[in-house]
């Protein structure tokens, strides 16, 4: 059976440090404003009691990728293992994919005049290495899971701020933070 690789993001562990994002930027030498992985603040009341919570997302390597459908030059392919690959050599920079993606994942690189997005480091995976963000997260909060093999019982597919998953069927799953007890003065 073919693989269905996707990210599993443990929000309970995530400390919002952005090391995933910056290690990716450093490894791929992306320009300062390009972000293949994005750490975003969640609403303070996401678990009920007020907390600082962040979620790190990259390309969701959807089952039904809207970027692929929207691309007029066939620059997108979905590999057997589920990774959605963007071929920058074919890209004409028309930005249709970025508009089609419910998660606004593909970003326009104004220097290269092409779109740019996370590749799940497939070239690293192919030689047995982990994606940079997975390997470099200080909290080990990001994993790659073959969702055809495992369905983590504590994982969910939807979190606040995340677009309706029925459109493109993203493979990314999340482990939600558990609310702690709080004794506040006010």
């Amino acid at each position: 059976m073919a693989k269905k690789l996707g990210f599993l993001v443990n929000i309970e562990r995530c400390i919002g440090c952005h090391a995933c994002e910056i290690s990716c930027k450093s490894f791929y030498q992306l320009e300062p404003n390009m972000r293949r992985r994005r750490v975003q603040e969640l609403p303070e009341d996401v678990v009920g009691t007020p907390v600082r919570a962040f979620v790190s997302t990259a390309c969701n390597h959807c089952d039904d990728p809207a970027c692929k459908k929207a691309c007029p030059v066939g620059a997108y392919t979905k590999r057997e293992d589920g990774i959605v690959v963007h071929n920058q050599d074919l890209c004409i920079g028309c930005q249709m994919c970025g508009k089609a993606c419910p998660y606004s994942v593909p970003m326009f690189n104004p220097v290269k005049k092409k779109m740019d997005k996370c590749s799940m480091c497939y070239d690293r995976l192919d030689i047995g290495q982990l994606p940079i963000c997975v390997e470099k997260c200080p909290l080990e909060a990001i994993q790659i899971v073959d969702y055809n093999e495992v369905q983590p019982s504590n994982a969910v597919r939807e979190i606040p701020t995340f677009a309706d998953t029925s459109i493109t069927h993203p493979t990314t799953h999340f482990i939600l933070p558990k609310p702690g007890k709080q004794s506040r003065r006010f």
């Binding site: 400390i15 440090c17 090391a19």
Partner: protein, 733 residues
């Protein structure tokens, strides 16, 4: 005539004709040589890896692996051989390629015409050394000593070889020194009185803890690698309690978060102690065998402290205090980590003593996975060879003179007999990071010469006469240890120093050479030396045995990082304390000698003045270490501007909405910045994170007074700064 020249022109001759036209003399510029015939043995595509050490003032002090292709860095990441950092860097460390290769680095020695004018001219190193050396010799002649020369150096780079700057100043005679630390002094003194020294357990032992209290510490932002162990422990069932006035990122991860009124943590600890004593949950054996003064302390608590009082004082409900006290006292081992922020109050030292006492009565000190962990210096026993050359013959004065780093501006202005006329600043940015920057600026105005060695333009460089360009860790040699974990990391030179940058050690040798040229015997610092030999001289037999390494070079060849042996990773394992009595001292005569109560008693917090009722805290920020990192554009792309956190209730009272520009003011100064409305802060407190932002003309210290902590003189020479006892008012701007 010109036409004639043109027709006969070859490359060099043509250049000469222009030279003649424009009156250019030979060697008219300091620019590098230019292009030369290519050396024969050039190989391209060569990939090498080097070990580096992050030398910033940080718990985590990471071991780094640097990939270099064709002599330039292509990737910087963590060293997997280090079990504490596990091959991963924090967000700041991941920006190092940008730190090295940003076009904005300071590249050449330069002199400013008119302090603060922005009119800089490029000078050669020789010119820089000459100007500085002449000034030093002039001062010595005029004042009969070098005491008018003041060094202000601290934590920008903790490479052991960077102590060469202190060594260089000692090698010209007796000088004035900015003494102390703005970091840990009150808490360190407190632990010094209680145990003889601050000494923490290996943070990898969070995994061995049954119960963890992070007390005013926010490792999610300041020690991400520790947070890994804490999260792991939590997942294995260890309870994580965070006590903090703010809902920090770490508090957000706690099983239980307890919001304490700022600066009343001592009352909370004493309330817990009262409950533990009342319910016989303390370790009678431990206190009998290992402490003195327990009965005095017991009496003090019985007489003066109740849980009700503690609840009233701290804002923590009585049942919560009781429950936490019981949980803490019955968990074995229970681990407390006291953050530096918690003690940045006028009663910070007393609060740390109370928390220490809580750990002591429950027998948690000396236990693997337990402890009352604050800071440690067990692995810092290097030779400090660079500092040992002594004053030259005929130096005036008898000893160095000290001014407090924590009230630097005022004390420099007050220094007379002789006055301070020259300043050397390295590894510091006092114009941004000191309290009362206006006073610091006045002190600068009094100087004849200000020399600053730095990587980037900042507020201090702006007010300097001469700036000296320094190397990044990747361009020089060194060795680093941490005040938290138990690893030693080598720092190799991975690339050539860019432009005309030099390390502090090379600068020390260069200045000594110039001084000795101008006046033989005027500086005892060696004038030449190979940094590889210098670094080997730092490792003595004790250090080598502790880390089980033969030499620096041996460690370089074998993984670049080594952990100290287990004999020291459990603090106070042998229960031989370094106090006068050799025991844990609830009753400390030393404390009394320094004017404190001998017992860990409650002392009152600083009270808000009526016109400035709002506390403004300035904790550390996740994208910076003091004034480093945040200004890099990779991080500016994530957060481009400072902001002030305000509770919705306070915001409503002041008619402030999210993103409104807010004026924050007190008698020391004011600034305006955008508001972030958030429940992460209590309604009587606002938060502005510490740091220095590119293009922003103020720092959080604009409203901070040089208010002293209660302790610090004993171990650090000077008291610290009560940064968090800063009271302000706010209004919509």
């Amino acid at each position: 005539m010109l036409t004639e020249n043109f027709s006969r022109r070859t490359f060099l001759k043509g250049s000469a004709s222009l030279s003649a036209l424009l009156g250019l003399g030979v060697a008219s510029s300091q620019a590098p040589k230019g292009l030369i015939p290519k050396a024969q043995a050039k190989t391209n595509g060569k990939v090498e890896q080097f070990y580096n050490a992050c030398p910033r003032n940080c718990y985590d002090t990471c071991s780094i692996v640097t990939t270099v292709e064709d002599g330039r860095i292509t990737f910087i990441t963590g060293n997997e051989k280090n079990t504490y950092t596990k091959g991963r860097l924090c967000v700041k460390g991941n920006t190092y390629p940008r730190v090295v290769y940003s076009p904005d680095r300071i590249k050449y020695p330069m002199r400013q015409k008119g302090r603060g004018s922005g009119n800089w001219e490029r000078i050669s190193w020789d010119e820089a050394y000459t100007i500085i050396a002449k000034k030093i010799l002039d001062i010595k002649k005029e004042y009969g000593s070098t005491l008018p020369i003041c060094l202000n150096k601290y934590s920008g780079n903790f490479n052991i070889l960077n102590y060469a700057t202190e060594g260089m100043l000692s090698s010209i005679g007796y000088t004035t020194r900015a003494q102390g630390t703005p970091c840990d002094p009150a808490g360190s003194d407190a632990q010094g009185f209680d145990m003889g020294a601050p000494y923490n357990n290996d943070p990898e032992q969070f995994l061995d803890a049954d119960y963890i209290i992070l007390w005013g510490a926010n490792p999610s932002w300041t020690s991400a690698h520790s947070m890994y162990f804490i999260e792991q422990a939590k997942e294995r069932g260890t309870k994580l309690v965070v006590i903090d006035p703010l809902i920090t990122q770490t508090a957000s991860k706690a099983d239980e978060y307890i919001q304490v009124k700022a600066s009343t943590d001592g009352a909370l600890a004493l309330g817990m102690i009262r409950y533990i004593l009342d319910h016989h949950l303390y370790d009678q054996n431990w206190v009998n065998q290992n402490s003195i003064g327990f009965n005095d302390f017991f009496s003090y608590v019985k007489k003066n402290i109740t849980v009700e009082w503690a609840a009233e004082k701290t804002g923590v409900p009585k049942p919560v205090i009781e429950r936490i006290a019981r949980e803490y006292a019955t968990a074995k081992p229970a681990n407390i980590w006291i953050g530096f922020g918690m003690q940045r109050h006028v009663n910070g030292g007393a609060m740390v003593r109370a928390i220490d006492a809580l750990a002591a009565i429950t027998g948690n000190i000396g236990k693997k996975g337990g402890g009352v962990n604050y800071i440690g210096e067990e692995t810092w026993g290097f030779n400090y060879y660079t500092m040992g050359f002594g004053a030259p013959e005929g130096s005036g004065g008898e000893a160095d003179r000290y001014v407090s780093m924590n009230n630097f501006g005022a004390q420099v202005l007050d220094a007379n007999d002789p006055p301070i006329k020259m300043m050397w600043i390295a590894c510091r940015n006092p114009m941004a990071q000191d309290p009362e920057p206006n006073v610091v600026k006045k002190a600068f105005d009094q100087m004849d010469l200000i020399v600053t060695a730095d990587l980037y333009m900042n507020k201090t460089v702006e007010y300097s006469d001469i700036v000296l360009p320094v190397t990044t860790p990747f361009e020089s040699v060194g060795v680093n240890v941490s005040y938290w974990h138990y690893w030693m990391n080598v720092n190799e030179q991975a690339i050539k120093p860019l432009y005309e940058t030099k390390s502090d050690l090379e600068i020390a040798m260069g200045l000594s050479k110039k001084l000795n040229q101008l006046k033989p015997g005027s500086c005892t610092f060696p004038v030449t030396g190979d940094p590889l030999e210098w670094v080997e001289k730092e490792l003595n037999d004790d250090i080598k045995a502790l880390f089980n390494v033969k030499s620096w070079d041996d460690l370089r060849k074998n993984g670049g990082t080594a952990k100290a042996n287990e004999s020291i990773t459990v603090a106070w394992k042998d229960l031989k304390f370094r106090t006068p009595s050799g025991k844990y001292e609830f009753y400390s005569k030393t404390a009394a000698e320094y004017g404190h109560h001998p017992l860990p008693v409650f002392t009152e917090e600083y009270k808000a003045p009526s016109e400035y009722p709002i506390r403004c805290m300035s904790p550390h920020w996740k994208f910076g270490i003091h004034s480093q990192f945040q200004h890099q554009d990779w991080l500016m792309a994530i957060q481009a501007h400072p902001f002030i956190e305000i509770h919705p209730d306070l915001a409503k009272k002041k008619s402030i909405r999210d993103q409104d520009i807010v004026k924050i003011i007190n008698e020391t100064g004011y600034m305006t910045l955008p508001a972030k409305i958030t429940k992460m802060v209590p309604a009587d407190t606002v938060v502005m994170y510490e740091g220095w932002w590119k293009g922003v003309n103020y720092t959080e210290n604009f409203t901070v007074k040089a208010l002293q902590e209660d302790m610090g003189e004993h171990l650090k020479g000077q008291r610290g700064i009560a940064f968090h006892d800063n009271f302000v008012n706010i209004e919509k701007a």
